[in-house]
Every structure is written in C-alpha cells, then in structure tokens.
Symmetry: C2
Subunit: 339 residues, 2 copies
C-alpha cells in the first residue's frame, strides 16, 4: 500500500482494520480498548506517521500555552535549577509551567501524565528513560510531544536533552582509582524504576572491572535520596570488618549526609575516607569539607529541554537530541588514601 | 431587602443593578468589565453570600480532583517538605497536585492562579498574605476555595494554616539579646510583595526597640534568598566600621551562605560573630558550624492546609484557620558575644 502524504484517521482505520470510532477511543480513552487492538492501532499510527492534530503547526493554534513537567520529587533541590531554567525559557515564549511529582513511582508517573494532559498541557518534560509500558503506549497513542532529561542514550525514537549517567559515574570512579583507592564502596539511590540510579551503579562497577585487580568494590548500598539515609549508610559501611578508603555516592544529598555523619562519628574526611558526590547542587559547597562531585549542567540542560519542546509544539521540525557532557569538580572531600 | 437563602445569579444582578450577562462576565472574564462595575458586583456577591456553584457539596460533584499550589520558588528546598506533606495528604483523598511558581512576583502569581483555574484546579494553596488587588478580586469573584500558608493573622475572611512570622522573628531576636548581644545586624529577604520577609524584619526591629538601649540594630540588608547573596551580604556587614556580634538571617539559605563565606574569610562562627537562621530545613545541619534557627512545622502545616482545602471542597463547613507555633532549635552558630 502506498503511504499517504497526510495520513487521516480513516487511513489509520483501514490499516489497523478497525472503525474510526475505535481509533478515537484508543487515542483518547485507551482503557476502553482491548490491548491487542490498541497495539494494532499503535502500529498503524507509527507505520503511517499519523498525528492526531495533523502536524505541529496546526497544533500551535490549539495550544493552551501550558507545559507540564513531571519530576521524581520536590523534596530536595536535586531538580531545582534545571527546572528553574526550563521555566524561565518557557516564560520567554509566554508558556506557563505546571509541575507534578511522582515520588519515584512509575504508576504515579503515569497518573500524573494523564492528569496534566487532561488538564490541557500541550507537552511534557519527563525525567529519565525508565517508564512503564502503559505509559509509553499512552504517550505514543496520544502523540504527546515530550522531551526526556537527566539522561541520554542514542535512541532516535526519544528526544533527549540530557547526559550519560553511566559515563559520568565511570569517569568519577576512574578518578578515584587514579588517586590510589583500591577498597571502594558505593552509596547509591534505589535503582528499581530509576535508570539514572541504576546507570550510575553500572558505571561504577564497569570502571572497577576495567581497572582490574587489586581494585575492589566492597559493597553497593541502595537507599532513598535523603541526607539521613546517606548518613545511615555511611555509618553502616564504616562498621564493616573491611572499611573502604573511598565511598562514591549516587548523588550530593547522600554524600552530604555521609560527610555530616562522619563529623558526628569523629571520622575525618578525606583523611580517613574520601567521599564523592553527583549533581553539584548548592549543598556540595554548604557541607564541610566541601564535596568533590560530578557537575551536571542543569541550567543549560533545562534551557535546551524547553527549546526542544517549544520546537516540537510550534513547528513541523524533528529536532535532534542533545547530549551534555559532565565534569568532575575537585574540592576537599577526595584525596589519596592513607598510606 | 430580605436576604435569599439560596441566592441566584438573578439575585446578584438585582442587587448589583447589572444584567446577569455582566455578572457572568465579571466572574469569568473580569478584564472585560469596568472596575467600578466589578466592585459593585463583588459587593453584591459578598452581601448575598452567592457562590457560582451553589455550595460546596454541589461543587464536589463537578470536581476535577486536582488542586494547585502556587509557591514563590522551586529553586531551593524552602517549601519542599511542606509541599510534600500537602501532596501526600491530598493523595490519600485521590487528589492530584499541580505546582506553579511565581519568582516572588505578584503579577506572575496572578497569571499562575488564572492558569491553574483555567486548567481546572478545584482549589488552591497560596503562600503568604501579600497579594495584588486584582488577584484578591479574582479569587473573590470566582469564589475560588483556597488556603493561605506560611503566615498567619487573625483575619476571619482568609483561611490560614500557618504561623506568625513577626512573633517568630521577635522570639529569636529576644534570645539573641538574652545571650548578651547588643550590636545586631540582619540579612533579610526582599520585603517588597513578601509579607513573610517584611514581618520577620518588623519582628526583629520590634524586639530590639522593646529591649531598649544599649541594644542596637546596626543594619538590615535585604537580598534575594540565595546562599551566594547571603555570603555577599555577610562579607559586606563584616567590612563596616562597626561590626555586629550577631547576624539574624531571614532564612536558612541566607544563614548557610553567611557561614560558608565566614569560613572562606577566616572568621570563626560563633566565636567572632553569631549567626541565626529561619525555617530549619536540611541545610541547617549540613552547614558547619550547624545553625541555630527557628523551626517551622512544615510537615504539620502542609498536612493541615490539605485537610482544610479538602474540607472546603467537599463539605459546606466553614473551617477555622490554624495557627502553628514555631520554636528555636539551638545548635552551634549562636553563642554569647566575645567578652
């Protein structure tokens, strides 16, 4: 069959062998359509390149000028400056930002996406690439314009404005090894349903494997991102028979918690044990000793995500993903191990 | 005229001496109605106790199960834990939270309120009592259910779940005086359009006035809430001919910035100068020396705000405002002045 230039709902119906009413239902109320039918319709939509609103420019006239961001948590400043610059860039274009949070729960993410779309958001900013199948399907069926940030992978189906968590964690671990550490531990975030956390763990493991003997990863502890939890994990690691000389933390919140707890326990950082972070948010310099960490270019990333999303919403362009580089910021908490 | 039990749009039209179409316009698109007409209609609505949706219980059936929170900033963790518990409490009732931020700008607050209401929010959480006249009028005309938090005053027209900023700042200042300080300075937030910031300044001034000679408020510096700005203000104060022995900060972010800068300048806290904060967020214990500060019961406050709002949305009750007490948390950054 010849592929139509401007595929219509009728074209989708023909290819999917379903009525136009069923196609509409699959797009607007997917719960009311059997999964196998939805899959057939989704494949037809993809094959034909059908968009429910016949192209970005047409969509532009229907816009509510509101965009949604769905972030894992508002409970600390991890996403704050990226979100702030995302909002500032949208404001220049006269677009309002509404934010919802998921508590790192995939089901919540899905319901928040549905809620934002129901309330008229034109497009979305999502964090990370791990997503429930039903969420992916909803995004695809509804042809919702969205940008994924805080991660990057070479996947042409998804539009990223992010960075490679695996590579960044790998680089920090190699630096820790280069400074002479051989007994290393990690305090990581919960990896389930969080690709940033799991890729940081994989990056650390890979670097230690690549470096080879006698470098050793003593332990990876997974814990929620809070200073108290980071402190608890630190205390736990320092009570084991074999004590690490360096602890790589999954983010700055965990690392700050470890440093504060070290002071309370009378353990000197970095003399007794080195600590590294990830993110380079404000607390990296609030804490004492100050934190050696991976700098994520949050402001540039947020701005780019906004520009990509606006391009999706207002033009017929297919913009390309942007990968940002991270860098290691050297401060006081990392030093060679005690000799 | 006898006041009708269930006032209708027609009753409002009669009392306001306007057409029902004009009443509708004043409620839904106030910009299209002359200010004096709007005022007349607003007075009629208040006089009659008219609600556009004829009472809370009726409203309940039209609910979109979404509530909006409009906070000054997402750029640091100042509102994070209160917002988190607000959201958790709403989630129990199956209500979704959407958040927008204003950048401490009254005009932005108004446009974000309009945007959330347009996108179907059933009710709102607002921060602070300072509000543009047009915003107040919009809230009143549209009869939008809302709760105000992070402040409290005995005003029966507004539903508060908050605390008295003046009283809290007064209490902290009296404690600083009690410990022997007589040369005091303040690093405050920007007071314009921010009643929390201005009431904290007033509380400090009042306490020093009430204490009397020889206690002296050397200087109040107003600066945006950022650690860098707090550090800059601290450096500025410590370079003046008369140096304070205690600096009261408008919040923990400013205080943490001051403590970090003191370390960089070789000034010992609290030996050379004492520092106090306000909020008791995480950085109060991340920073070293740890911060003596005013604890705001954010979690209880957020939970109560959610309960009050849900009560407004689902019942015909008229719940009463709740005032929370703050307390001083003693840590390392406050000590008697050098003798």
């Amino acid at each position: 069959m010849k592929k139509p230039v401007n595929p219509t709902l009728e074209d989708v119906a023909r290819v999917a062998n379903a009525s136009t009413a069923t196609i509409s239902r699959a797009i607007n109320t997917p719960d009311k359509v059997a999964p196998e039918t939805r899959l057939r319709i989704l494949n037809a939509i993809r094959e034909l390149g059908y968009t429910p609103h016949s192209g970005g420019r047409a969509l532009a006239s229907n816009r509510s000028n509101t965009v949604g961001a769905i972030i894992p948590t508002m409970a600390n400043a991890m996403f704050a400056s990226g979100l702030q610059s995302f909002q500032e860039e949208l404001a220049i274009a006269g677009v309002t930002l509404l934010v919802a949070s998921t508590g790192y729960d995939g089901k919540h993410e899905f319901s928040q996406i549905q809620s934002l779309i129901t309330h008229g958001a034109d497009g979305l900013l999502l964090i990370g690439a791990a997503r429930l199948p039903e969420t992916r399907e909803f995004l695809a069926l509804r042809q919702i314009p969205y940008v994924v940030s805080w991660c990057y992978k070479p996947d042409p189906k998804i539009l990223f404005a992010g960075f490679d968590n695996h590579k960044a964690a790998y680089g920090m671990t190699m630096e820790v090894l280069r400074q002479g550490h051989r007994k290393i531990a990690m305090i990581a975030g919960i990896s389930e349903g969080n690709d940033r956390a799991s890729n940081r763990i994989k990056g650390v493991k890979q670097a230690i494997r690549d470096f080879g003997s006698p470098a050793k990863l003593l332990k990876v502890m997974q814990t929620p991102y809070s200073q108290t939890k980071g402190g608890d994990a630190f205390a736990n690691l320092m009570h084991k028979p074999t004590v690490p000389t360096a602890i790589i933390c999954g983010n700055d919140v965990l690392a700050a918690g470890a440093i504060v707890r070290a002071r309370q326990l009378g353990i000197a950082i970095p003399r007794d044990v080195s600590i590294t972070g990830f993110d380079d948010i404000d607390i990296a310099t609030t804490v004492y000793p100050t934190l050696t960490t991976v700098r994520v270019p949050q402001r540039r990333m947020g701005r780019s995500a906004a520009r990509l999303l606006l391009e999706l919403l207002t033009t017929d362009n297919k913009p390309a993903s942007i990968e940002f580089e991270t860098e290691i910021i050297f401060r006081e908490s990392l030093a060679p191990p005690p000799s």
